[in-house]
Symmetry: C2
Subunit: 335 residues, 2 copies
Amino acid sequence: MNKPTIIDISKATGFSKSTISKSLNDSKEISKKTKNIIIKYAKKINYKPNFFASHLRKNIVKNVAIIIPNILNYYFAKVLKGAQQEFFDKGYDLMCFVNEESISREKKILEKLKNGSIAGLMISPAKNPFSKKISKQLVEIQDYQIPIVMFDRIVGDFKCDKVFIDDFQSTYDIVKHLVSRGKSKIALVSPIHETLIGKKRYDGYKKALKIEKIEYDENLYIPLNSGNTIQSEITKLAISKKIDSIICIEQHITVAIHSLILNLKFNIPKDIAIVGFTDGPLFEFIKPSITSINQHGEYIGKLSAKILIDRIENNNNLDFVEEKVPTSLIIRGSS
Amino acid sequence: MNKPTIIDISKATGFSKSTISKSLNDSKEISKKTKNIIIKYAKKINYKPNFFASHLRKNIVKNVAIIIPNILNYYFAKVLKGAQQEFFDKGYDLMCFVNEESISREKKILEKLKNGSIAGLMISPAKNPFSKKISKQLVEIQDYQIPIVMFDRIVGDFKCDKVFIDDFQSTYDIVKHLVSRGKSKIALVSPIHETLIGKKRYDGYKKALKIEKIEYDENLYIPLNSGNTIQSEITKLAISKKIDSIICIEQHITVAIHSLILNLKFNIPKDIAIVGFTDGPLFEFIKPSITSINQHGEYIGKLSAKILIDRIENNNNLDFVEEKVPTSLIIRGSS
DNA sequence: TTGTATGCGTTATCAA
DNA sequence: TTGATAACGCATACAA
C-alpha cells in the first residue's frame, strides 16, 4: 500500500481536493457533516499529510538540530535529554549530530544543515581553537534566518544566544569549600585551559584564593596538553606535601587522580581532598565518593531549547541573551 | 537575506531554471562553460537546494529516526553513537527520540513518524508489556514501506529486522566463569524478568547450571518488581551462606548489591562474587571493580543502521534478518 | 546544449 | 459551503 494522499480521499469521498484539505485542517468553512465524512475516511485509510509537501507550501519548518561533542559524556547526554523533551513537547523534531571533537566532522554537519531543513540550531562546538571556518558557516546559517543557541562551550566573540554555567563561580565555590575544610594548598588540573570555560574556571579559582588570602602558586596550576605528564607531576606534588587538595575539571582525569592518590597510600580527604566536575553517577559509587560540581545538564538543555523556540516563533530582534546558570556543589566523601 | 532559489540564479545568470537545476546536479547535458558560470554563482550567493522541494519532487527521504528508552543509559548512548556515525557517513540525517520508558510517549512519537518524514526506523521499545497499540502503529509504519529495525529489546512475534545480543550465551558464560572460580551457589537478580531478554538470560543461566551439574534452586532466582525487597532478600541469602555469587542484569542494582555486600562485611569476590551487565566505565572504577558483560552497544548501533540502510536502498523482499551479536565477558576484581 | 512544460502533495486565494 | 486554480522550489521528459 502506498501512502494515501488527499487525492485518494477526494476520489473516494467525491469532494474536491481543497475541501479535503480544509476539512483535515478543521477549517470552519466546511460543514460539520462533510468534515465528519472526510475525517472518518482519512482515519480509516490512515492518512497522514505529506511532510515535505506541506512544509514546502507553508514554508515553515518544525525541525531543529543539536550538535554535541560527545554523546558518551554524561553531561552532554543530560543536555540532550532536556532539549529533546522540550522540543518534543513543543512539536519540534530534533535531529541529533555528534562531532566527536572533530572540526572536520563539525564542518560537514554544518554544511549539511544549510539545506534549509532546520528552523534552529543548538550547538556546543568541538574543542577549541574555534576555527574561522566554523564561525563563517555559523554566520551563513544565521544569514538564512536560522537562529543559533550556543551552550556550554560558548565562544566569546560569536554573536548568538548563549547558555552556560557560571564557570567562575564553580571553582570559586570549590575553593571556598576546601578552605572551610582546612585546606590551603589547592591544585587546579585543567585539560581545557585554552578554552573560555577553562579560563573562567581558572579565574574563579584565583579570585577565591585571593579572597581567602592564600597566595597563588603557579606550580599548583596544571594545564594539561597531552595528559601524560600528570601522573608524575601529581605524584611529585603529593609526596613533597606541596598540595593538600586537587580540583580537576574533567571527569575521567579526576578518577585517574583519585586512583593515583590512593595508590600512593594517601588518605582521601585527610591528606589530599579531591573535587571534580560531572553530572553523572560515577563519583557517587567510587570509594571514597567524590565531591563534585553539578552542572545541571538537563536544565541547560531545556533552557537552551526554550530560548531557541522563542527565537524561531517570535522572530523579534531583541538582543541576544546570555543565560548564566548557577552550579551547585555536591559534597561527598572526598572533601 | 532570504534563502536563494534556483530562480534567483536563473535571473542573475540568464539561463533557464532547468539549465540551472541540471548544472547544479552536474548533468552532462550542460556544457562545462555554462556549468562553471552557474556553479560559481551558486557558491557565491551560498545557494543550497530547498530540502522540502527536492524531497517532494524526488520522493526520496534521507531521514531516519531512532527511538531509545533512555539516553542516560550508557549502553543506549553507545548504540546511538554507533548508529549516528553510520547514518551520517552514508548521508542520512538521524532524528532522535527518547521514550523515557513511557508507552504513551512512545505512541506519540510513532504517531508523529507516520507523516512520511522518515525512510526508516530503529527502535528499542519501552519496557514491556509490549502494547498492542504500539504493535499496530509499527505495522502501520511498515505499511508505508518504511522498514523497521528493532534492536536490543526485541519483541518475539513482531516481524521486522532485529539486532540483539546473545542473551542466552551471556548468562551461560557468566555461570561457566563463576564455576571456574569455584562458585556453585549462584543467584540471578533480574528486574526485567518479564521481557524476552530477561527470559533468555534466565534460560542461559539455567542451562549452564545443568551442564555444570549444579542443581537449580528457585530461591536463588530473584525477579524484581518494585525493587524494594532486594536488600533484605540478598542479606538473608548472604548471611545464611546460601549464595557465593550474584549475577545481576541491571547496572545500578548491581552497584547497590555491591555496596550492600561490602556493608555486610563480606569479601568480594572471596565470599561473594558479583557479575553485572554494562558497557560503561562505572564498574571499572568501583573497588573492587566489577566483572561485566560487554554488550557492544556501538557495534549494535552500527550494525542496525547498516541493515536499515540496506533495506531502504535495496528494497528487496528478502526475509527479515535476526542478527545475534556475541557478548564478551570483561573479568575484573569482583569475580 | 539549452529551454519549456509538467507534476510532486499541499495550502491559500478566489470564484461559484 | 464547496470547488477550481495557482503556487511553494525543484527535477525531469520532451521539445527546440
